[in-house]
């Protein structure tokens, strides 16, 4: 998005709002990741503690999801840069 037409009060305010939003997005990412990896990795409820195979699965799931997310982000940014040309900053 292009914030270059904003005055400094607007930019400062916008930055605060974006920071807040990033915090919320991070929290959302975190809980969705827990849900996703739990859903994929935990299927045995004969005991209440994580089995080592489940734990390994959860660790790999977390790792892989973050790498996946990063790669999607990189392609997404490239696409935005291409689409919008050289004008202004993109998300």
């Amino acid at each position: 998005m292009d914030f270059s037409q904003f005055n400094s009060a607007e930019q400062a305010h916008m930055n605060k709002v974006i920071e807040k939003k990033q915090m919320q997005d991070f929290m959302r990412l975190y809980s969705s990741l827990v849900e996703r990896c739990f859903q994929s990795c935990c299927n045995d409820f004969t005991s209440k503690s994580l089995k080592s195979t489940e734990e390994t699965c959860v660790m790999n799931c977390t790792d892989k999801f973050l790498k996946h997310s990063e790669r999607v982000g990189a392609r997404f940014a490239e696409h935005n840069a291409e689409t919008m040309g050289a004008s202004g900053s993109q998300l």
Partner: protein, 100 residues
């Protein structure tokens, strides 16, 4: 919700053009929404959920790149289609679909 209680002169408070800021926030929300859907749908298409290893393998990596490219093509097609159908009349004449 967030627009209630701001009073009538809400379009200029504290030297800020709030309408412009709100529009920027709406755009930010929309981009975030699209990105989250993209992450989720490409995960379901490309990632093996047995999670035998922590890294993306070659096949998954290539699949992600193609998935994102294809998603944007679908995004463009759907946008053009909706514009052609006049469905975006509701959107107050926004004309930027397909470009995201």
């Amino acid at each position: 919700m967030s627009f209630l209680g701001r009073g009538a002169s809400s379009s200029n408070q504290g030297g800020m053009n709030t309408e412009k800021l709100e529009m920027a926030m709406t755009e930010l929300d929309m981009v975030t929404d699209v990105f989250n859907r993209l992450v989720s749908v490409c995960h379901s298409k490309c990632i093996n959920t047995r999670y035998a290893e922590p890294d993306l393998n070659k096949g998954e990596s290539v699949c992600i790149d193609r998935c994102v490219a294809k998603f944007f093509e679908v995004n463009k097609k759907v946008g053009e289609k909706m514009q052609a159908m006049g469905a975006n009349a509701t959107a107050g004449g926004g004309s930027s679909f397909g470009s995201l």
